[in-house]
């Protein structure tokens, strides 16, 4: 097991290195960084001096090494746009994004799994039909449309929930949370539903399909033949087997929730990393873009590692394979 984790860690490091190369290449591909700093009429000698001071005349490989070392210490340079360290900018906005994505993921699992189980067990019932139709809407409607619809209903017409922003925030050291105030929680509801709805319907459909598959297996038939109660069969034997593939998908989806957060954050003016990134793209703020790229890939890699370990916890057959490998 330990060997397996170490090997996966090594692979993860390799992936991050590749992303690092791409992030670093961004600086090169999008023009000369010196041009971003100086004005048009700066003399050539002065430009050379800046180049030398910034170490831009060193070989690329040396510069890349320096970039990685600094990135490892969360030093991603200074934002062109805000004239502030990128790590400070991201640090300020990360709690907002993580709280949003975490709530969206929680919503999609807590609602999606029971709905999937229900529709699998009560196939053909009226409520199952309703769930399936609703899930079709969730899968097919684009995120921004859902966001606008929700705002129109709950903010404009009913006036129950705020239509933008994060509400009141409490600072806990470097982490600012909106979960401790009423206005913060109210502000979180609509963006979390918007972001989680697609995932929720996906997970519901996945759970339903897997559950139906598992209910047809021999070991479920054998469990019935042994007279076990329906509850033990459905929620013990069947659900546990259903969750094995669901864990994979849910893990991968958590990554894409963070990616989709861009649109949701933009629509709800949520002060998160997605909004920061969109601003950076518009203003060619390369240090921010590069740092965002690294951060998202880091999250992806960590989530994948956790998924692999969870897999082994749930499925003993994989544990055996890992020991053998």
């Amino acid at each position: 097991m330990l060997a397996f984790i170490l090997r996966r860690l090594f692979q993860s490091a390799l992936v991050l290195l590749c992303v690092g190369v791409i992030a670093f290449a961004l600086f090169r591909l999008v023009g000369d960084p010196v041009n971003q700093i100086v004005s048009i009429d700066t003399p050539f000698e002065q430009r050379q001096q800046i180049r030398k001071d910034l170490g831009l005349d060193d070989p690329s490989i040396v510069q890349f090494g320096r970039y990685l070392v600094k990135a490892a210490r969360f030093d991603f340079g200074i934002s062109y746009q805000f004239r502030q360290p990128v790590s400070t900018l991201i640090g300020e906005r990360m709690p907002a994004t993580l709280e949003l994505t975490f709530m969206a993921a929680l919503l999609s699992l807590v609602v999606g799994i029971p709905m999937g189980v229900y529709t699998a067990l009560r196939r053909g019932s009226f409520l199952s039909g309703v769930f399936m139709s609703v899930s079709l809407i969730g899968v097919s409607l684009p995120t921004f449309l859902i966001a606008i619809l929700l705002r129109w209903i709950f903010s404009v017409h009913l006036g129950w929930l705020p239509s933008f922003g994060r509400g009141q925030v409490v600072n806990l050291g470097w982490w600012s949370t909106g979960l401790l105030t009423v206005s913060g929680i109210k502000a979180l509801i609509l963006p979390a539903i918007t972001l989680g709805l697609f995932q929720m319907t996906l997970i519901m459909r996945l759970v339903r399909a897997e559950m139906l598959e598992v209910l047809r297996t021999d070991y479920i038939k054998f469990a019935r033949a042994r007279g076990l109660s329906d509850r033990a069969i459905h929620f013990g034997h069947a659900l546990k087997n259903t969750l094995v593939p669901v864990i994979t998908i849910a893990g991968l989806q958590l990554g894409s929730i963070i990616a989709f957060a861009l649109i949701t954050e933009y629509v709800f003016q949520w002060p998160g990393m997605g909004a920061l990134f969109l601003g950076a793209v518009q203003n060619v703020d390369i240090p921010v873009m590069a740092a965002y790229l690294l951060l998202v890939s880091f999250i992806f890699v960590v989530v994948n590692l956790v998924v692999d370990i969870l897999y082994a916890v749930v499925d003993p057959r994989l544990r055996a394979n890992m020991q053998a490998a």
Binding site: R224, A225, R226, L228, R317
Partner: protein, 356 residues
């Protein structure tokens, strides 16, 4: 004969489909006594497994028991509520399925599955149930059961898994065990071990066994009596020695004639011409009439009843008892020595096989 453990009377099972009602079992009757092994043989689709599922109450919709009775120790169980039937499954009737590789839940330890089943049916606490689980594993011949009980199914070989499955079926000392092709998925040497084990346990405990298989070798070794099924009906039933060596029904004769033997060493295996009718096209009269070499007018209009040789004259309808009974009109025809006719077929078939 004392009261049978299992008594099936005129059992009909139907599947309602879009294209009409299919009759998978058509008036099936048989008895199994205490400690007796009844072999049920027939081609795929003859209704062997459906019979097992119907007895244990696991016919899934759109299938249903249309008529007939299933009696366990004289008590009717086919019309019980699902909840009461559940208490009979596992407790009074155990079941063993074909493929031990897929019969066990891969995510639970063998012990967890045993303890769960034991505690569903017996008032034991966790520690007592575990103790009983270890005893059961020892009884089915798992070496070092106190250690193996914490293993996962994938850590057991196929034969060992089938032993675990057997232990699971025996958890609550059932009066009847239904074994649906218990050895089909195993290799031959392991088959023999499992069959010997099944036989020994049932003899020791007096458990009745319904052994469903298409392997005549297994039947000949294990069963006390055998029922030959064809197209959802019992064609012949009787003591295993009689049915194997002196089958009455033309289909049974063909079936026995098609068993390859080393002595006759034929190049071609003997076949019964044609194939079993589909459920939506079972012929009127005797279901075997299109393939039977002795079909005559009566066979295509009237369905033959399952009657014992001695019962034919009296016309009583209890062919499922201990005797040798057959569903064939030939045995009612005056002046026809049906038995000799069918025996001649069997010999002739074997001869063709070795000549070819």
């Amino acid at each position: 004969m004392t009261e049978p453990v299992l008594s099936v009377r005129d059992l009909c099972v139907e599947f309602v489909t879009r294209r009409g009602v299919l009759r998978a079992l058509d008036r099936v009757s048989f008895d199994i006594g205490k400690g007796e092994v009844l072999g049920v043989v027939g081609e795929s689709g003859a209704g062997k497994s459906v019979t097992g599922s119907a007895v244990i109450g696991l016919i899934e919709p759109p299938g249903r028991i249309a008529s007939g009775e299933v009696l366990l120790k004289g008590e009717r169980i086919d019309n019980l509520s699902p909840e009461r039937l559940r208490h009979i499954r596992g407790k009074r009737i155990g079941m063993v399925f074909q493929d031990p590789l897929t019969s066990l839940n891969p995510l639970y330890r063998v012990g967890e599955q045993l303890v769960q089943t034991i505690r569903t049916h017996l008032p034991l606490n966790a520690a007592q149930a575990r103790e009983r689980a270890i005893e059961l594993l020892a009884e089915v011949g798992i070496p070092a059961p106190e250690r193996r009980i914490d293993g996962y199914p994938h850590e057991f070989s196929g034969g060992m898994r089938q032993r675990v499955v057997l232990a699971l079926a025996l958890c609550a000392e059932p009066e009847l065990v239904i074994a649906d092709e218990p050895t089909t998925a195993l290799d031959v040497s392991v088959q023999a071990q499992i069959i010997t084990l099944l036989k020994r346990i049932c003899r020791e405990r007096g458990t009745a066994v319904m052994l469903i298989t298409h392997d005549m070798g297994v039947i000949a070794e294990t069963a006390d009596r055998v029922a030959v099924m064809y197209a959802g009906r019992v064609a012949e039933i009787g003591p295993v020695r009689d049915v194997v060596s002196r089958p009455f029904h033309p289909y049974a004769a063909g079936l026995m004639g098609s068993i390859p033997t080393l002595e006759t060493a034929s190049e071609r295996l003997v076949q019964i011409p044609g194939s079993m009718p589909r459920l939506n096209a079972i012929p009127v009269g005797c279901a075997f009439n299109p393939r039977c070499p002795h079909t005559y007018a009566r066979c295509v209009v009237e369905r033959p009843e399952l009657l014992g040789r001695g019962e034919r004259a009296s016309g009583s309808h209890d062919g499922a008892g201990a005797g040798h009974a057959v569903a064939c009109h030939l045995y009612d025809e005056p002046g026809v020595d049906a038995e000799a006719l069918v025996q001649r077929d069997k010999v002739a078939a074997a001869a063709t096989g070795s000549a070819a």
